[in-house]
C-alpha cells in the first residue's frame, strides 16, 4: 500500500481512474518507459465494470459472466507494467497547470504532472421519480457493486425498474446468483424501437447484438417483465411498495437504472470544454481523435469521453496513452494506434442503436411537482421549474437561488436533471442552458486533510501579511 508521503513530487504521466481505460493507458505508457502513476479511489483496481476483479468473493464464474472476467488480463498487465498503481487514492483537484491534488488515507499531496489522462468513467443517470430518496430505493449499479465487491445479493421482495443494457445485465447476474426478483418494470418507451430501426444494420454486425439477445432471453425466461409508463416508490419511513401505471406491488428494495452518463466533474473543474450530446442526452468533453481535451496536456479516455462500454474504454485508453508517450518521449517505441482505432470502431459500431433504443423517456428525466431533483439540498422539481419561469436562465444562477448542486455530491446526482428542467421550462435546449460550473475539491476533503498538505516555510511566510 503506497502512502501519500511515498509519492514523488512529479510524474511524467498521471492516470486518474483504474477502470479499463486507466489500466490500459497506464500499462501502455509504463511499458514505453514513461514514468507513470495511476490513482484509483477504490480499494482495488478494475473500475466499476471490473470492480473487485482481483478480490471478488464471487467464485462461480458464470454469475458475473465472461465479459467481467475478461478484465482480469487488463489488471494483470497493469500490475506488471511498471506503472505505480495507488489504490485508495482520491483525486480532488486537477487544474490547467496539471497540478493534481490527491488524498491517501487522510493525507493530501499536490503532484505535478506533465500529462494527465482522466479515466473517471461514468455514473448512473439520475432517476428522479417520486419517492426515490426513500431508504430501500437504490441504483442498480449500487446493487452490482455490492455483488461484485462483497458477493451480496438482495434479500426480501426486490423490484427492478428502468431501462438500458446494464439493467438487463444486472438482472441476469442477480438471477444467476440466486436472487429472487418480483418484477422488472421496463420504462423504455416503445416507440424507441422504431426510431432505432435505421441503426439496426450496424448493431447486427457489432459484438453487442448476440450478447444482448442472449441476455434478454435469459432474463425474460426467469422474470416477470412489465412495460410501464410510470413508476413511484411509496412508503412512510422506508419503501413499502412500488406503484406503476395504477398498479401496486409490495417491495422491500427497488433498484433503479436508466443508463450511464460520463462522469464529467473532474474534467469540467479542470477547465475542459464540454458539449451536449443529444443522442446520449448528456454532457461530454470536446476531444480530438487522440482524446485530448481543450486543456493542453489533459486527455479524457474511457466512458468519461462518451459512453461506449468497457472494451471500447480500454482502446481509448491505449490511443490516449500512445499520444501521451509520443509527446513525452518522441523516441520511445509505441504500438501503431491504428490497431486500437480499428478495434474501437468495431466496439462503437453498435452504440447508436443502443443509445436510441434505450433513450430514457422524457417523463423519467424531467420530473414535476414535489419530486426531489437535488437530493443533497432537497430541492424539488417544482422549485426549479418555478425559478426558471421567474427568469433563472441557467444552473449556476439556480444554484445561487436554490442551493441545488451545492451539497457534497457536487451535482453528480442532479446536474443533468436541473439542466433538462430549465431547458424544458424555458423551451430551449440543454446545450443552450449548459451545466454547472464545477469547483474543486471535486470530492470532499476534510479540513485536516487539507491542512496536511506539506507547505514550506517560504510558502507559509508568503501568505502572511
Amino acid at each position: 500500500m503506497t502512502e501519500a508521503s511515498e509519492l514523488a513530487a512529479s510524474y511524467e504521466l498521471v492516470v486518474i481512474g483504474g477502470g479499463p481505460a486507466g489500466l490500459a493507458a497506464a500499462t501502455l505508457a509504463a511499458q514505453a518507459g514513461v514514468q507513470t502513476v495511476l490513482f484509483d479511489e477504490n480499494p482495488g483496481i478494475g473500475g466499476q465494470i471490473y470492480r473487485g476483479i482481483t478480490s471478488t468473493p464471487v467464485r462461480d464464474r458464470a454469475v458475473l459472466g465472461d465479459d467481467y472476467w475478461a478484465g482480469g488480463a487488463l489488471a494483470d498487465e497493469a500490475r506488471t507494467s511498471g506503472a505505480l498503481i495507488v489504490n485508495g487514492a482520491t483525486v480532488w483537484t486537477l487544474d490547467p497547470t496539471l497540478t493534481v491534488g490527491v488524498s491517501i488515507a487522510g493525507k493530501a499531496r499536490l503532484i505535478q504532472a506533465k500529462r494527465v489522462i482522466v479515466a473517471t468513467g461514468s455514473l448512473e443517470r439520475p432517476f428522479p421519480i417520486p419517492g426515490w430518496t426513500l431508504p430501500g430505493v437504490m441504483t442498480a449499479g449500487a446493487a452490482q457493486t455490492a455483488l461484485k465487491a462483497q458477493g451480496l445479493v438482495p434479500a426480501g421482495r426486490t423490484v427492478m425498474a428502468g431501462s438500458g443494457p446494464l439493467l438487463w445485465l444486472l438482472a441476469a447476474q442477480l438471477i444467476r446468483a440466486g436472487a429472487k426478483i418480483e418484477a422488472l418494470l421496463d420504462t423504455t418507451p416503445r416507440l424507441n424501437w422504431l426510431r432505432a430501426l435505421p441503426f439496426t444494420p450496424d448493431f447486427m454486425i457489432s459484438p453487442l447484438w448476440s450478447k444482448g439477445l442472449k441476455l434478454l432471453r435469459e432474463v425474460k425466461a426467469k422474470m416477470l417483465v412489465i412495460p410501464v409508463g410510470s413508476v413511484e416508490a411509496v412508503g412512510s419511513d422506508k419503501l413499502s411498495e412500488v406503484v406503476f401505471d395504477g398498479r401496486r406491488v409490495p417491495a422491500d428494495l427497488l433498484l433503479l437504472h436508466q443508463g450511464v452518463v460520463p462522469n464529467v466533474n473532474l474534467a469540467i473543474a479542470a477547465g475542459a470544454e464540454h458539449r451536449w450530446n443529444s443522442r446520449q442526452l448528456c454532457f461530454e468533453p470536446v476531444l480530438d481523435r487522440d482524446f485530448n481535451s481543450s486543456v493542453p496536456g489533459i486527455a479524457v479516455a474511457g466512458d468519461g469521453a462518451g459512453i461506449a462500454g468497457g472494451p471500447a474504454a480500454a482502446e481509448r485508453g491505449r490511443i490516449a496513452a500512445i499520444a501521451a508517450v509520443r509527446a513525452l518521449k518522441p523516441s520511445a517505441s509505441v504500438p501503431d494506434p491504428q490497431t486500437a482505432r480499428n478495434a474501437l470502431q468495431r466496439e462503437e459500431s453498435g452504440r447508436a442503436f443502443l443509445d436510441v433504443a434505450y433513450r430514457p423517456a422524457d417523463a423519467f428525466r424531467r420530473p414535476t411537482g414535489e419530486t426531489i431533483a437535488c437530493r443533497c439540498e432537497e430541492v424539488t422539481a417544482k422549485q426549479v421549474r418555478d425559478n426558471a419561469d421567474l427568469g433563472c436562465e441557467g444552473p449556476n444562477q439556480m444554484k445561487a437561488f436554490l442551493r441545488c448542486g451545492m451539497g457534497p455530491c457536487q451535482g453528480r446526482l442532479c446536474g443533468l436533471t436541473i439542466t433538462e428542467l430549465i431547458a424544458d421550462q424555458r423551451h430551449t435546449t440543454p446545450a443552450e442552458v449548459g451545466y454547472y460550473r464545477l469547483r474543486p475539491p471535486v470530492k470532499p476533503i476534510t479540513l485536516a486533510e487539507l491542512a496536511s498538505l506539506p507547505i514550506s516555510e517560504a510558502e507559509r511566510k508568503a501568505v502572511e501579511r
Partner: protein, 371 residues
C-alpha cells in the same frame, strides 16, 4: 439608437446599486454588463458586511452603507440574507492586541465609535469556540453578513422595477464624446447618454484606458472555501490580522473560510486557477483557531475576479480627463458592504454635482503622477 440619462458599465453590486439610486432620482439609467449581474466578485464573495478595520478614507462611506443594509428590505424588497451578529477581529497575541487598542483609540479621537476593544472574557462570550491562546480583540457590533449573489440580484431587480434598463451579455467596446453626449459603443450597438459611470470592477482599467486615463489596477481573485453543514457554533464573522483569515458560519450551517489568499485570475476567460498550498495554510489557521473544525469537510473552493488598487482603497469620483464620466471601482477585496452606500452617493454626485458623503482621497487623480 438607445438613449439614456446615464450609462452604468458593470453589473456588480456597485453598478446595480448606482442604477437603482439613479432610477429612484427619476433618471433613466441603462446598465451594461458583459456577463450577468453578480457573475464575478459581487456574486461570489464571502458576503461580509463589515465596517470593522476599514481604511480611514472609506469609513464615512462604510457607515452610510451600513444604515442602508439595516433597512435593506425597504430599499430592494428582499432581505438579501442580511444578518447582524457583529464582526470580531481576533488578536492572537498581547502585542497584536496592543496595536488594535492604538487603532481603536485613534478612531475615537476622530469621532468614530463603531470599533470597540474587547478582552478575553468578552471574546470568549462572543466566540466561545475560539482557541484559548487569543487574548482579546475588536468588535463592530452592527456588522454582519449577507448573501452576495442574492443581494446583487435584488438590487438589479429593483433597479429594473424603478425604470432602469439592464442589458446583460453585452460588452462595452468604445467611448466617444459627441458634443455634450457620450456615445457608448457596445457589442449590441451604441447607446448615447450625457453621463457614464464606470463600475466595471476587474475590467474598469480598460474603460478608463478608453478615456486616456490609465490606472494601476491589479486583477486579483481572492479564494474562498465552504464546508458541509455543521451544528451552529459561531455567530459573528471572525477575522484575523496577522494571518489571513475570515471565517463565518451561515444560517444553513455551512462555514465559509476566506481571508484574501489569491488564486491566479484569467480575466479574459472568466477563469481562475486556485492555489491549494495557500488554501492549506488557511486550513492550518482554522485548525489552530477553531479546534472543533478539524473534522469538517471542505466541499467547494472558488475565487471571484476583482480589482485591487496599489493603495488598497477604491477609485470613486469624477474622471480626471473626461467631463460627465464617473469612476466607482477598485474596491480591493472589500467592496461588497460599500455597494449600497456608494451607489446612493454616486447617484447623488451624478444627479446634483456634489455629495454629502466625503470621498476625499479616493479620486482617480491620486494615480496621475504615479504612473
Amino acid at each position: 439608437m438607445r438613449t439614456a440619462d446615464v450609462v452604468v458599465i458593470g453589473g456588480g453590486i456597485h453598478g446595480c446599486s448606482t442604477a437603482l439610486h439613479l432610477a429612484l432620482r427619476g433618471l433613466k439609467p441603462i446598465l451594461v454588463e458583459k456577463d450577468y449581474a453578480g457573475r464575478h466578485a459581487s456574486g461570489v464573495n464571502a458576503g461580509g458586511v463589515r465596517q470593522l478595520a476599514r481604511h480611514l478614507a472609506e469609513i464615512p462611506l462604510s457607515i452610510s452603507s451600513m444604515e442602508i443594509w439595516e433597512h435593506i428590505q425597504e430599499l430592494v424588497g428582499d432581505d438579501c440574507g442580511f444578518t447582524s451578529h457583529g464582526t470580531v477581529l481576533v488578536a492572537e497575541s498581547e502585542a497584536e492586541l496592543a496595536s488594535f487598542k492604538a487603532r481603536v483609540d485613534d478612531l475615537r479621537l476622530r469621532g468614530f465609535t463603531h470599533e470597540e476593544l474587547i478582552d478575553r472574557a468578552e471574546l470568549k462570550r462572543l466566540v466561545p469556540a475560539v482557541s484559548d491562546h487569543c487574548p482579546g480583540g475588536v468588535v463592530s457590533r452592527r456588522d454582519g453578513a449577507a448573501d452576495p449573489f442574492r443581494a446583487t440580484q435584488a438590487f438589479r431587480r429593483r433597479a429594473v422595477e424603478k425604470g432602469a434598463e439592464v442589458i446583460e451579455g453585452v460588452m462595452v467596446t468604445g467611448l466617444k464624446r459627441l458634443g455634450e453626449i457620450w456615445r457608448v459603443e457596445t457589442s449590441d450597438g451604441p447607446i448615447e447618454a450625457p453621463k457614464v459611470v464606470n463600475a466595471a470592477g476587474a475590467w474598469a482599467d480598460r474603460i478608463a484606458a478608453l478615456l486616456g486615463e490609465p490606472v494601476p489596477l491589479h486583477v486579483i481573485a481572492p479564494m474562498l472555501m465552504v464546508t458541509s453543514r455543521l451544528p451552529a457554533f459561531i455567530q459573528p464573522v471572525v477575522i484575523l490580522r496577522g494571518r489571513k483569515l475570515s471565517f463565518k458560519q451561515l444560517e444553513n450551517g455551512t462555514v465559509v473560510i476566506g481571508g484574501g489568499h489569491l488564486a491566479t485570475p484569467y480575466r479574459d476567460r472568466n477563469a481562475t486557477v486556485l492555489d491549494w498550498t495557500k488554501l492549506a495554510a488557511s486550513a492550518e489557521t482554522v485548525w489552530e483557531l477553531f479546534p472543533a473544525m478539524r473534522a469538517a469537510t471542505i466541499v467547494r473552493a472558488w475565487a471571484g475576479i476583482e480589482a485591487r488598487m496599489p493603495d488598497d482603497i477604491p477609485v470613486i469620483g469624477r474622471s480626471g480627463t473626461s467631463e460627465g464620466v464617473y469612476h466607482q471601482f477598485g474596491f480591493s477585496a472589500h467592496g461588497f458592504q460599500l455597494g449600497p452606500g456608494t451607489g446612493a452617493m454616486m447617484a447623488e454626485l451624478v444627479a446634483t454635482g456634489s455629495t454629502n458623503v466625503p470621498i476625499d482621497g479616493l479620486e482617480i487623480d491620486r494615480f496621475r503622477t504615479k504612473i
